[in-house]
Amino acid sequence: MITLWIDDKQYEAAEGRTILQVALDNGIQIPHLCYHENLSSFGGCRLCQVEVTRDNKTVLTTSCTYPAMDGIIVRTDTPKVKKARRFVMELLLSLAPDAPKIQDLAQEMGIVATRFTPAGDNCIRCGLCVRACDELVGAHAITFAHRGAQRMVEPPFAEEAENCIGCGTCVQICPTGFISMEEQGMERKIGKWKRTLKMKACAKCGRPFISFAEIAFIMDKVKNPPPADWFDYCSDCR
């Protein structure tokens, strides 16, 4: 077990946890956007700033990438931390000014408007979709491409995301509504990934409910595949 201090109180943590995880486990609020409990830490949104003192040196750092270590002193509420978070939030807001989730978070921090002209396409480059697709789904359909302001999430070679199975996990996890999925007859479309998928209809109710690509993916991935007729019916009719 590791013992560390957060805002003058002592906490215990298991090896391998990050400061952010320890804080959240113990009900200490630290704003965060690119962190997700089921995904690896990324450290891109820069919102989860805290000050950490280790070996008499204090640094401003992101709590989602900093491992809980024995004896470190964490402060989540110093003027420097607040200043950093507020400014970062303002930058994030300028990237997705109309996204409710971003607006709410900004409002909680007392920011109503950003001084910058909206610059973005609504994507804040938090990378949740990429990690979800890699780590939760395992389809590896999309990646980050390019550098600097040109950096964006794309299918490989900016062509149709051939590995995409249309499961919609990225759509669910995106905090700004940047990615959307459309159902058109017997097809499902994810425009951002240039992907169109053929859907299978439920043998009972006739509703298209899963893409053929997803069925093939599941049959291929799982050790004990379900019976062959498992995907004949949707979850409601099954």
């Binding site: 450290g43 820069r46 400014f87 970062v88 910058f116 480059r125 600097g148 302001a149």
Partner: protein, 617 residues
């Protein structure tokens, strides 16, 4: 060739090589570094070869193609020994005359000697030229005697003696102690003590350890590492091997910038030679020490030179920075302790070991020992690669070595430290050039870029230029770095377009704060320097742009106007013929005028006018 199995054998072949070389009475060296090759150096070399053969001089003259000598603007450079007669800007058609007049008849060809652009004085010897005279070339100096593809040349210069000494006489602890005593600091920018880093990796509890050469050299305009790698590759290999022995590593990587074909060629040859001679591989010089080196090609991004990004790239992943709460010296490539140093840092190692830390610490000042190589460019008479003792005042570099500002113009600023360095003004010209002093003033040493700017430089425009580079080279992962650099750039651009607002200066300062305090890697953490240093020393220029919509240096096109002095213009029409916009109006023979609407402020008319009648306001 059979592998050398002992230090005695190494000394034996060194002796044979030296004897072989002493049979020739003179040596003609031609620089074939990347710079001189661009000026027909290769053809000069081929012509020399032909002429030497046709004059039956092959038994007397050793013709040698060397690596970069640093004075590329004067290239191709040719030096004849003994006598050290140095000819500059040699062209193939000069060769027959050189052989006949200088080699055979022993007379100097005045026209090919270096001529000082200010005083007009000519110099015979390379070492007398002011550009060289004021340098201390303890690292780069050997380049001029070495054909980088010939191990014999390196041995003739005492090469691999330091490695032999290390393996035969020193314990790893003693090697580290010597490096610590020499206070060798990392030349890649940070100035971190190399000995301390070596010690950390040495002590790390793991069997497998790596040593790495950072040869990514991503700073625009920088080529000190390239010149070392292509001009003296064995020096880097020797330094790296000594480090590997001290640290306890058996494997090394050279992370080489993608666009470096000549260094790749020369390094690959050097590695192969060293392996053949048993200077790399297993049981080196029969001492039981094993060490192998591989070259990894860079990913082509500036940020991949950052230590954690570089290690990701070597692992085959995307070359993007990652958090380093645990030092890469303890957990680097594949989680193994990995010691990374810059090319120039490694190049210092054999010299320290051979000559001793005691000797080495006499060069430099209290906290900065040894020399530093800079690439001196911009508005200065002599440009090129220079190697100077650390702590030398900026003034000395710019005015003594660099020969001052061309065209009698006034000095304005010097930018050091590469793209995320800072600009220092006139009143800081006495500053000693070292890691600590430059940092204190809001600039930095970086890997050694030095750009001199004259009075006709707009400092807002300069800040914009560097921000443009940084915003494109940020990997884009951190919101603060990606958006911070982009927004700083956008504000700077607006200011130079005359659209600056009073709130822009405080906003720039806030953006600079958030970018440098909340970003992950040193790119983001230093990216604000160009903005902060120009705001600190040239704030009045920002204010003139914003408040008066005026560019004091008359650079920002949106804020200047070209007009013709009606008194001075005699209507010769020269400018009218050259103007690409046909913006110059009036009758030939009487004073002309410029139509401000169609003028694109290219400045062609001003350069064309022989009567200084074109004025910029």
């Amino acid at each position: 060739m059979h592998r050398l199995t002992s230090v005695e054998e190494l000394e034996k072949i060194r002796k044979i090589t030296l004897e072989e070389k002493s049979k020739k009475s003179s040596c003609l060296t031609v620089c074939l570094g990347t710079g001189c090759q661009a000026y027909a150096g290769q053809r000069v070399y081929e012509t020399l070869k032909k002429e030497i053969t046709s004059h039956n001089l092959t038994a007397e003259i050793e013709l040698k193609a060397t690596g970069c000598r640093g004075f590329c603007e004067q290239g191709p450079i040719l030096v004849l020994y003994p006598g050290e007669i140095c000819y500059c800007r040699v062209q193939p058609e000069n060769v027959p005359d050189i052989i006949k007049t200088t080699v055979i008849e022993n007379r100097i060809i005045e026209d090919l000697l270096y001529q000082d652009p200010v005083t007009g004085q000519r110099f015979i010897k390379e070492s007398e030229i002011p550009f060289y005279r004021n340098q201390s070339r303890i690292i780069l100096g050997a380049n001029r005697f070495i054909n980088p593809q010939d191990l014999g040349d390196y041995l003739a210069q005492g090469g691999y003696r330091a490695l032999a000494k290390t393996l035969e006489e020193m314990t790893p602890e003693q090697v580290i102690a010597e490096i610590e005593k020499a206070n060798l600091r990392g030349r890649g920018g940070g100035g971190f003590p190399a000995g301390l880093k070596w010690e950390t990796t040495r002590r790390a509890p793991a069997k497998k350890k790596y040593v790495i050469v950072n040869a990514d050299e991503g700073d625009p305009g920088a080529y000190m590492d390239r010149s070392l790698l292509e001009g003296n590759p064995h020096l880097i290999l020797e330094g790296l091997s000594i480090g590997a022995y001290a640290i306890g590593a058996d494997e090394g990587f050279i992370y080489l910038r993608q666009e470096y074909p000549l260094p790749l060629e020369n390094l690959s040859i050097a590695i192969k030679q060293a392996e053949e001679y048993g200077l790399l591989g297993t049981n080196i010089l029969g001492t039981g020490f094993n060490f192998s080196v591989k070259i990894k090609r860079g990913a082509g991004a500036f940020v991949s030179g950052e230590s954690s990004a570089l290690m990701s790239a070597i692992e085959g992943k995307i070359g993007e920075p990652r958090p380093k709460h645990i030092n890469t010296a303890l957990s680097g490539i594949n989680g193994k302790p990995s010691n990374l140093n810059n090319v120039e840092t490694w190049a210092n190692v054999p010299i320290i070991i051979e000559k001793g830390a005691e000797w080495y610490t006499h060069i430099g000042n209290a906290t900065n020992k040894g020399t530093k190589i800079f690439s001196l460019v911009g508005k200065v008479n002599n440009t090129g690669l220079i190697e100077v003792p650390m702590g030398i005042p900026l003034k000395k570099i710019i005015f003594d070595l660099g020969g001052g500002i061309p065209g009698g113009k006034k000095f304005k600023a010097v930018q050091t430290g590469g793209p995320s360095g800072g600009c220092l003004p006139q009143h800081h010209l006495d500053t000693p050039v070292d890691f600590d002093h430059l940092h204190e003033l809001g600039s930095m040493m970086g890997s050694g870029g030095m750009i001199v700017m004259d009075e006709e430089t707009c400092m807002v425009d300069v800040a914009k230029y560097f921000m443009h580079f940084l915003k494109d080279e940020s990997c884009g992962k951190c919101v603060s770095c990606r958006e911070g650099t982009r927004k700083m750039y956008e504000i700077l651009e607006a200011i130079t377009l005359g659209q600056g607002k009073e709130e822009d200066i405080p906003l720039l300062e806030e953006l600079a704060w958030v970018t440098s305090n909340t970003s992950l890697c040193a790119l983001g953490r230093t990216a604000s320097n160009p903005v902060l240093s120009t705001l600190k020393y040239f704030r009045d220029e920002y204010e003139a742009h914003i408040r008066e919509k005026r560019c004091p240096a008359k650079v920002c096109k949106a804020l200047i106007q070209y007009t013709i002095d009606q008194e001075k213009c005699n209507g010769c029409g020269r400018c009218r013929n050259l103007c690409p916009q046909k913006a110059i109006e009036g009758e030939k023979g009487s004073p002309l005028t410029i139509n401000a609407q169609s003028c694109i402020r290219c400045g062609i008319c001003r350069e064309a006018c022989r009567f200084e009648a074109v004025i910029v306001r």
